[in-house]
């Protein structure tokens, strides 16, 4: 299957471990978790802040594989093509570099993913429990979107 990727993503080839399609036609690049920040830094360096925005950060708990999957949905402008940067974190120690200092727009997504799934974004000073989850749940140390949370 030939995947047409715009020229903005040429440098992705050196990071992408795997490429797949999320319906309908959203190209997902699986990368190593330590590369996520480098990719965004390079995207900003090559094309600037006006060339894309991070639309959504979606975390998924995969207890069967002992992983937490993190998807960054990025909309490339001006053609508004949505691509996905996907990475897998160790479920027992889900840690990834924060992007909030280079892309302030990820603040809401990172805070939410931390509060609901327990992912730690290294370097984000705004992470806290109870940002979205009710405090009585947060105080018990429960991350509600984990499959074994019992919520």
């Amino acid at each position: 299957m030939v995947i047409s990727v715009s020229s903005k993503l040429d440098f992705f080839s050196k990071y992408a471990v795997k490429t797949e399609i999320i319906k309908p036609k959203r190209i997902a690049f699986t990368v190593k978790s330590e590369d996520v920040r480098h990719i965004f830094e390079e995207l900003i360096k090559q094309h600037g802040h006006g060339a894309f925005y991070v639309s959504t950060i979606a975390g998924t708990d995969l207890p069967g594989e002992n992983k937490i999957r993190l998807d960054y949905y990025v909309v490339l402008l001006p053609e508004e093509e949505t691509i996905v940067i996907r990475t897998y974190l160790d479920r027992s120690n889900p840690l990834v570099d924060s992007l909030v200092d280079i892309i302030p727009g990820v603040l809401s997504g990172e805070c939410e993913t931390h509060d609901l799934l327990g992912v730690f974004f290294k370097g984000n000073p705004f992470l806290k429990r109870g940002f979205f989850v009710a405090l009585d749940v947060a105080e018990k140390g429960i991350y509600p979107l984990r499959k074994d949370s019992g919520v």
Partner: protein
Amino acid sequence: MVCNMGVTKVIEVPIITAEIPIGPQHPALHEPLLLKVYADGEEIIRAEVNTGYNHRGVEKLCEKNTFYRDLFIVGRVCGICNTVHANCYVRALEYLLDARPNNRARYLRVLAMELERIHSHMLINAVMAEIVGFDTLFMQIMLDRERVMKAKEILTGNRVLADYMIVGGVRRDIDEVKRARIRDLLLKLKPRVEYYKKVFMEDETIVKRLVDIGVLKPVDVTSHSLVGPVARGSGVKIDSRASDRYDAYDEIPFNVVTRTEGDSWARMMVRWDETLEAINMCLYILEKLPFDGNPVPDEKRLPRVIPHGESYARVEAQRGELTYYVMSDGRSPSPYRVKIRTPSFNNVINSAFMYVGLSIADVPVALTSLDPCISCMERVTVIDLEKNTRYKLTLRELAGGKV
């Protein structure tokens, strides 16, 4: 030492920085949200957004219920944009099923969503009129908004919560009588919207309160992931309808409205222009509604199992890009994961930087221009040195000398 001088009460009004909580509870507040601003005199020097007052656990609820029950849950994420939520979720399921509704259903879906856009944009413009102290205009707009509410009721069976979308189509078809009535209502509404747009352009009070307030540069919009009319008001052309061309948006002509000013006024004007575009789209749909079969699928024949896979749907809600990620494991009758990202989630939480430099009185205007609706509440702390207690007063009480 102070007590010795005969002073028993001190009013603590910080001279350097005053902390002013806006929300989370207030009669005029439409959403429980706390916007905490720090002011140096009248000027805002920092703003924080605090959420978590209304956690409902919708994503978890979706995982616990079946794919089809979730249709009713996602429609209740937000009252005023329930058809777009349902549409986005339904399309995510349709991508998984490789299903496509017929043309008539696709046109009717767009009709419902555009009617919703009209009443939502009218509501926030009315609220803006109220915020700037123009209550008569608020009432006038809300009165005319009733026409579109009626039109939506004729189409979907309900004024607000429609539950109109269903996998493979819509829940109700319309006949010639309904079509004529909706068209009639929209034709009566159109000159009123044109008039309100003129009021927003020419009225001195509105222009003075809105122009140059909360200016957002295009690069700030993209770096802070702001979407919808907020982005388009700053000249950033983001519109899922134009890029994803879902449902019948590939066949219905419309313009993506943008302005370059980037201030609160531009955002409200984008909404008025989009309202007019939406009315024209609805009239086009009512005129060209195709007849290619029944748009209402038989619920009993819907597929019981959703195939294994992932899908990510985008929809241009009234407030901006709304996204749904749905994952099915192919075995369970419930989704493995549903991720909802609403436009206000980005627009409200990530926009704290916008308030810096504004005066306190401009904060409600800037906030309303993002399309949540939160009013102001200022307080000071009174410290009673004799009793060693603290209590808070509103500025109104303070002005009335009730210290």
